[in-house]
């Protein structure tokens, strides 16, 4: 039996990810010299957890990097912050517990921030929607269509959150696999 957790509650529980998601969009606007007019980093209990309003651009690459900013920045931050948790999971040594309660709590907080950030690494459908009209050749449309389609899977109500959790878990395994694998 499926239990659908309201998106507002998910956003509230993982708000560090939402905040960094918006910061990532803004960061790519700033470095590409595109004006940002308004930004809402996080709005609790709202259908739209956050948003960035920026000057429209005709440059595909500018729009593309603004759209996938969270995929780059959230993913990198998630990889770094979940490194200890990822190592424990990779080595399967969760039973090794000797740290003080303060240090354990600090690990737990960093783990929560890291996985929350990884959970919100995927751009929303709205983030990607403007890109389709900016490419004209069939092959570019095909590649972009497939890419947008894959991202769209992460935004479907029933399986989206599960895929996002798996994605964040996968990100946490990147460094352990590189260094311990």
């Amino acid at each position: 039996m499926f239990v659908v957790i309201p998106g507002e509650l998910i956003a509230l529980l993982t708000f560090p990810g939402v905040v960094l998601h918006e910061i990532s969009h803004r960061f790519f606007c700033d470095i590409q010299n595109i004006d940002v007019y308004a930004i809402n980093y996080f709005q609790p209990f709202s259908k739209k957890a956050g948003h960035v309003i920026y000057r429209p651009t005709n440059n595909f690459f500018h729009s593309f990097f603004i759209a996938i900013g969270p995929l780059i920045i959230n993913s990198l931050v998630c990889i770094l912050l979940t490194f200890p948790a990822g190592c424990n999971a990779y080595l399967d040594t969760d039973f090794v517990d000797y740290s003080s309660s303060f240090v354990s709590l600090a690990y737990l907080i960093m783990q929560w921030i890291g996985y929350s950030i990884g959970f919100h690494a995927m751009p929303s459908n709205k983030d990607m929607s403007g890109l389709k009209t900016m490419v004209h050749s069939w092959w570019a449309r095909t590649i972009l269509g497939n890419f947008t389609g894959i991202i769209g899977l992460f935004n479907i109500t029933l399986i989206g959150p599960l895929l996002r959790i798996l994605f964040a878990y996968g990100l946490s395994m990147v460094l352990p696999r590189l260094f311990l694998g």
């Binding site: 998106g7 940002v36 956050g50 190592c87 040594t93």
Partner: protein, 159 residues
Amino acid sequence: MSNNESAAVVGEIVASDQAVISEQYSPLEKHIYPFWIKMAGLISGLLFLFLVPRFLLIDLPIRYEVYQKIVKADAFFLNKDYSSAVLLYEEIFIQYPNFNTIKLVKSCFALSVQYSDFYKIGLHYLVGRKCTDSEVEEMQFFLPEEYKKDFKSQFKKVQ
């Protein structure tokens, strides 16, 4: 937002119409963030700088050593060298009592074919542990026939 999207899971970017925007807003200063975001970034950064070096220097070597012991013990177990496996699993269990003892118990049960004492030692490692049905089945697989009946009755007690 269409019905099949997970509402409010992520934020959105809005590339609004230039004319409408310029009437309503003036551009924000680049790379200037609110105080609370700077503080949150600072705290996260400090947390990272405190915990990751600590993890690399203190925690990871210990965990990796335990991991290698488990790999070695598992290899003994797969090669049916159960006495060596028991020694290593026991060493880990003594150091870390939260260690999952199922493989240790299986090794003990396998040894009980030759030495009957290992049946009781195996049972001892199950005290206070909750096992799934599949784990119980796995353990029974290594148990000699003469102990199976006793195991079923004992198992209820140790649970």
